[in-house]
């Protein structure tokens, strides 16, 4: 018998579903990314207790353009995670997903009812990320 379980592919490319499905995947990736950063952050700031020289040394290492770009990615991830997480919290408390009722074709679903809010939040993410990008790369330090 063929098992035919989609596995991770089901998170990434499972068919013609709307973007909310892929927000599920991104929420997970960004969540894990933030945890990874947290661990790295603890490790790096831990150098403080090793004295000034060690601290300055590690600061020099982390001031690398690639790491700076990763920091920017982290920023994008956090913004997405927080706003999308806000949407999920509301949805899981039954807010903004509508009430059950008599269904008449064409059916509307909780996913449709949330679409506007989802796109609004993603628009906010975009705006905040653009402002952030300007701050990261364009504005003088």
């Amino acid at each position: 018998m063929v098992k035919n379980l989609l596995g991770i592919k089901g998170w990434i490319a499972a068919g013609r579903f709307s973007l909310q499905r892929y927000a599920y995947t991104l929420q997970r990736i960004t969540g894990l990314g933030i945890i990874t950063y947290l661990l790295m952050h603890l490790y790096v700031t831990g150098f403080k207790i090793k004295g000034k020289a060690a601290w300055n040394g590690i600061m020099e290492t982390v001031h690398h353009p690639i790491l700076h770009f990763f920091e920017f990615l982290l920023f994008v991830g956090v913004i997405f995670h927080a706003l999308n997480g806000f949407r999920l919290i509301l949805a899981e408390f039954g807010i903004g997903i509508g009430k059950p009722g008599r269904q008449v074709y064409p059916y509307t679903t909780s996913v449709d009812r949330q679409k506007g809010f989802f796109f609004f939040l993603m628009f906010l993410v975009l705006i905040i990320v653009l402002v952030g990008a300007a701050d990261f790369y364009l504005l003088p330090k």
Binding site: I8, G15, G94, I97, R102
Partner: protein, 283 residues
């Protein structure tokens, strides 16, 4: 000979469509696509296309179908990258010259397009999909449960579930956690628990309030997008989460205290302004 017959049969022939069907013999683990050319007439469904193939091109092709009208829930398939009922999908609506048909994912394949739905049914059974009472067994109660229209609407759309299993094929969580209770069963857990005739919330909570139960859902919403009956399982699941959180954190149970109306035994009095039935027109 067949050629001529076919032509007359398909006189409203609109175009030829290639059916690219995933074949699996039932043994081993190799699958392969096979292509069939199907003449399409107006209103023809994917299921009818498959029937055409079986009747005219390849009688070894297997799939599951029964009602051919979106009621039995047998014909869920992965059609052009989306899980759908083959009998409810018109070929022309797919707007494509090639139709790729695979068995629904997240279920083992028995043969060709026939998935093994055993797990779906087991999960459905596990949430006790029937009215539970903690007073008398329903059959001992004499009378009718009172239920208002608003109370009915709290669960009515969830009763439309035909157990086709499309929602589990759509669910990204089932894709990596096979044992996740899944949208179909969770929606039914809510459907019975909000029914004012039911008193089984606690019993069902035991089944679904665990790491593979209702909180495994992260609201990707794909079940609701794909469900062919407008059940919207994702909605039911979020409402079930809310009910369980209310119960666990604030002790507010989803309990119903329905009135039971006695059944009127004597014949209701006939109104006198009802005209008599017309005489029989056939014997």
């Amino acid at each position: 000979m067949a050629e001529k017959n076919l032509e007359s049969k398909f006189e409203t022939h609109l175009k030829d469509v290639t059916f690219k069907v995933l074949r699996y013999s039932g043994e081993g683990d190799s699958t392969k696509f096979e292509e069939y050319k199907v003449p399409v007439i107006g209103g023809m469904t994917v299921l009818e296309g498959l029937i055409y193939i079986k009747e005219n091109l390849d009688n070894t092709l297997s799939w599951r179908a029964s009602c051919r009208m979106g009621i039995c829930g047998s014909c869920g398939m992965f059609i052009n990258n989306f899980p759908m009922l083959a009998c409810q999908t018109q070929i022309m609506d797919l707007n494509s010259d090639v139709i790729e048909i695979k068995p629904m994912p997240n279920y083992p394949i028995i043969k060709d397009l026939v998935p093994d739905l055993t797990k779906l049914i087991e999960k459905h059974k596990s949430i006790k999909p029937y009215i539970l009472r903690n007073d008398n067994a329903p059959e001992e109660i004499e009378g009718e449960f009172y239920q208002g229209v608003e109370e009915l609407e709290r669960y009515e759309q969830f009763t439309f579930c035909i157990k086709c299993g499309i929602c589990l094929a759509a669910c990204p969580t089932v894709a990596t956690a096979e044992e996740f209770t899944g949208p179909q069963a969770l929606a039914q857990a809510y459907r019975y628990s909000v029914d004012t005739r039911d008193q089984g919330f606690d019993e069902r909570k035991e089944v679904v309030d665990n790491p593979l139960g209702v909180f495994r859902c992260h609201f990707a919403g794909s079940c609701s997008e794909a469900c062919p009956k407008g059940v919207d399982p994702a909605l039911a699941i979020q409402l079930l989460k809310k009910a369980i959180v209310k119960d666990s954190l604030f002790g507010k149970k989803l309990v119903h205290d329905t009135k039971i109306l006695p059944i009127k035994q004597e014949n209701p009095k006939k109104k006198d302004n009802i005209p008599p039935a017309p005489p029989k027109s056939v014997e």
